[in-house]
Point group: C2
């Protein structure tokens, strides 16, 4: 494993640099994006993934695009930029942080009615930088609140990758685990491989091994058996979109783990910044669930595994009802039941 | 897909022919075994798998071995043959059918106290043939009892492969599905891919496509989401060992599906011949669970997927407690709760 830790996304002068997570952990390849379409493509092909990281990437794509609109007329700039905002928003549908980041960056236009194009460009870049930097600070805050819910010597189960690679750095669920490990090196982690994209196998195991945190890889279908053997003390996962009532969309399989945790009376926590919360959506039913190419299920590294012509489903996410969630760890503290009220309050803080 | 259906195991003269299921569905390679060690190796490396098929293979390995003991002294023959029986039994530990088949074949020795070596060889071969042929007949009986529990137009979820490939032919869970489809072509099947060996993806989808039965492949972690969307009417799976109280060992992940079915109030059935029942084991705790090489989880087609040095667990089976099982479909009919009594009765039939 390489010595130097590469952040998932960063500026190199005026280019957006994206660590291509599709080839991790065996290759470290960085994509140099000089126009927003390259960033959009990196998002939709999952070279960069994880709701907070996608939000940051969306903001940076807009900063990149703002420089290339070839106009000095603020009105033309605003029209073209708004169209770009819509395009970036559509790169992936389920994660809330992308539309949240786009809306924040787009708000710069309204907040600066008399600005020149050069001033708008600078303010947009400034907002993208704020979103990038705030994400790291927020994750550290999530970590410091979250570590309090981790019992001493806990065996923690996590799912998919809600780590440094899913954010600007540090991670949400893995931020909680990092912070807990800092004060209690006796904790251990189980990472589910997370089919079909194997983020748990390829990314979470990689991150935790680099951090020196003990981690054991399991297949997704082992979770029930492990819980039945009383080998899991607590579950911590990330989120892609949290509805106003606490219902939470996250990587396909999260709901299954929540039901299993409930059956075995194991606490089940979500760790996510407030930018993942969508107060305009009343409950999980209304969260759009991305359906991805069935080839991600039928093939592996481009080679067919299933018989030719096999039908397959490939929903990227599922929704866990709030009733199965023990608490939501945000950068402003732990959000407890009843969620509708607590979520309203945490968004006002 | 090839026209001709190859059975998973059959005699070609004096050789045991085993369809190598590790390379299905993309290649049809048959292993020609002329000594019992080759069959044992095919069992332990999962070239042939599925508890009933392993039982048949064990019996055929013994018939093969009986011919090669190079002695005309019945006493020497019996000693050497008993040692071979112990060796065959150890090829895989969890499935009951292997030890059941070995015990049945071995019983030939005691039943023929005055036989010559040639007579013993013939009787052993006869018993192996009986086990092979009876397995097919039993599966057809399981199918005809089992189809009655399948609702009209049902969307059936199955797991791993409990099909023709897991038996001598026809299948247990897939036997039920075949029999149901014969009378109701509006049924549909969801097949879970079944990590890490992908029996559901490679074998069940292949078998059902060949039979013309509509099948959709899903990742194992999609089961909860699919049930939550009310897209599953009934679950039917096979079994590797059933304890006297009905607790059932089956492919890792079966327990998870049973808990999810229970949570969503969906009937969960086991389909298995009586040779899978182990009356000497009182409950699931005592069933030995095979732990396989972690490389089956960390690697894919010999290529590493997880980071180098990653720790992984690879239990091949888990145990579903009888309380989560709606019924057990055997060749003598449906076994219902309370299981201890019903299982005793069905074994006496």
């Amino acid at each position: 494993m390489p010595e130097k830790w590469l952040p998932p996304i960063y500026w190199d002068g005026d280019a957006v640099m994206i660590l291509d997570q599709r080839v991790l952990p065996h290759r470290e390849r960085t994509l140099r994006c000089t126009n927003p379409n390259q960033v959009i493509s990196a998002i939709s092909t999952m070279a960069i993934r994880g709701a907070p990281a996608i939000g940051v990437a969306g903001a940076m794509a807009l900063a990149l695009g703002a420089r290339n609109l070839s106009t000095s007329d603020p009105k033309t700039f605003k029209r073209k930029f708004s169209a770009l905002c819509e395009k970036v928003k559509r790169a992936r549908p389920t994660g809330r942080n992308l539309s949240w980041a786009v809306e924040r960056v787009c708000a710069v236009l309204g907040e600066n009615p008399n600005a020149t194009v050069a001033e708008l460009e600078a303010n947009i870049r400034g907002m993208a930088d704020t979103i990038l930097n705030k994400d790291i600070v927020d994750n550290q805050a999530i970590g410091s609140y979250g570590r309090k819910i981790i019992p001493r010597g806990a065996r923690i189960l996590t799912y998919c990758n809600a780590g440094a690679l899913a954010t600007a750095d540090y991670g949400t669920a893995l931020g909680v685990i990092r912070a807990a490990y800092d004060v209690d090196p006796s904790i251990q982690v189980y990472s589910c491989e997370t089919r079909p994209f194997l983020q748990g196998c390829r990314l979470t195991v990689y991150e935790l091994m680099r951090a020196g945190i003990p981690v054991t890889l399991i297949t997704d279908n082992s979770v029930g058996s492990l819980m039945c053997q009383k080998k899991v003390d607590v579950v911590v996962v990330g989120a892609d979109r949290i509805a106003a009532n606490g219902d939470t969309a996250n990587k396909i399989g999260t709901y299954m783990i929540a039901v299993l945790a409930h059956h075995h009376k194991i606490p089940f926590y979500i760790a996510a910044p407030r930018s993942t919360i969508d107060p305009t959506i009343s409950d999980g039913e209304a969260i759009p669930i991305e359906q991805r190419d069935p080839r991600e299920v039928t093939h592996f590294h481009g080679r067919p595994v299933a018989p030719g012509g096999a039908q397959a489903l490939n929903p990227a996410f599922d929704v866990t009802p709030h009733s199965l969630i023990t608490g939501i760890i945000t950068e402003k503290g732990l959000v407890n039941k009843p969620y509708s009220k607590a979520i309203r309050k945490v968004l006002e803080d």
